[in-house]
Subunit: 257 residues, 2 copies
Amino acid sequence: MGTPDPVNSGELRAIPVLGIRDVFAGDSVAGLVVDALALGGLRFHDGDILVVKHKIVSKAEGRTVALDLVKPSAAARRFARTNGADARVVELAFREAKRVVRKKHILITETQHGLVCANSGVDVSNVDGGKTAVLLPADADRSAAQIHRELKKRTGLHIPVIVADSFGRPWREGLCDVAIGVAGMKPIHDYRGKRDPYGYKMHATEEAVADELASVAGLVCGKDSRVPACIIRGYPYRRGKGSARQMVRPAEKDLFR
Amino acid sequence: MGTPDPVNSGELRAIPVLGIRDVFAGDSVAGLVVDALALGGLRFHDGDILVVKHKIVSKAEGRTVALDLVKPSAAARRFARTNGADARVVELAFREAKRVVRKKHILITETQHGLVCANSGVDVSNVDGGKTAVLLPADADRSAAQIHRELKKRTGLHIPVIVADSFGRPWREGLCDVAIGVAGMKPIHDYRGKRDPYGYKMHATEEAVADELASVAGLVCGKDSRVPACIIRGYPYRRGKGSARQMVRPAEKDLFR
């Protein structure tokens, strides 16, 4: 495999994909991105990475639920009442969860794919003003792989794809974008055993590059904008059969379970 | 106050600062960065942000300890023996800690400033081949503020400064760079109460932009390289009296304590 040459001498660029229209079930995310770029006079280059916010992926996959049709359970109603939440959203979060991690003020769950986040990632913002909830993609690694394949067809290029969502984390304030789906690159760079410039053998240095790349999209795409994707150019990623699932720490290795 | 205009139409650039020499106690980090840029034919632009890896800040501040001079306590020796660690590093980690968060396989502590990380941030890599340990800056917000002031003197520009270090986190594999010191900008963008393009009022949307900017440096500076700083250009930061301490979640709001 090996690392493709960086596009330039170490500089990284993050280019917002502007002009993507509202996304509906059945849309091709890859197609929308390529078309939006073309309208702006842009195109993918060899070495580029595409980061897509999960919401348009979920919408394209029809992972939306009309809140009017959701009948909250007694447990969901109880939690919602105590914490000022929407019982229908809580109900969806319960349904999407493999387990409830914390249920104090806000609901932290673990999803089927091991993602630990608020409300199982169920979100009502940036959809249609509060009538519809968006779920996480059923399998965001599969979503990333599909977009990756379609980009290959459309552009002839190997473009790694990261599906990103904003997650909170313990101990620190604020959300950061992380990679919930990855295709076409290794999500973690492992420096263990390599020597630093002083000859010292490094340990405990695995870098979560897919999460750091997702964070770049957090900065470039913003939270309330209609910029649901960006291209990262100039990052010497490592090709490989990567997945976001590799970034989920196995329970037995996790100090915080 | 207010947001300065972005340098360009939404594109973000991260420019590595190459050619910074080995750093010693008493060095001026701001001076080293400005001089290294000039040698490369570069200079700061209005709107730029400087991200500096904490290690050169600690070295410049003399926050290093010769491991030969460290006498480990019985507790440090015990933990080191059980977990294959260096008792002298464990001893320093204990000394730097306000409390021990977890002590299973690796040592997770909370530092005086509320940072939760492995070994209180004490690190032996990228120093001198294993003879010397580097501690975190005594107060990385103060370090950032000092570099920020010196940059103002040297360049005449308002350049926000972020001091970054790589931290692990629960539930996810790998390290990401986070902001342990901030000056000249707000570390968190608060979108709560703003309306999305569909008129829906957002909540729970505080973005940890300083951590996301630190992650960019993680990508551009690498782990084993001699690129200890980068410039981020084109990010519409918000000016303000920011600090990394604002990013530490107060114990009473933290679901995971």
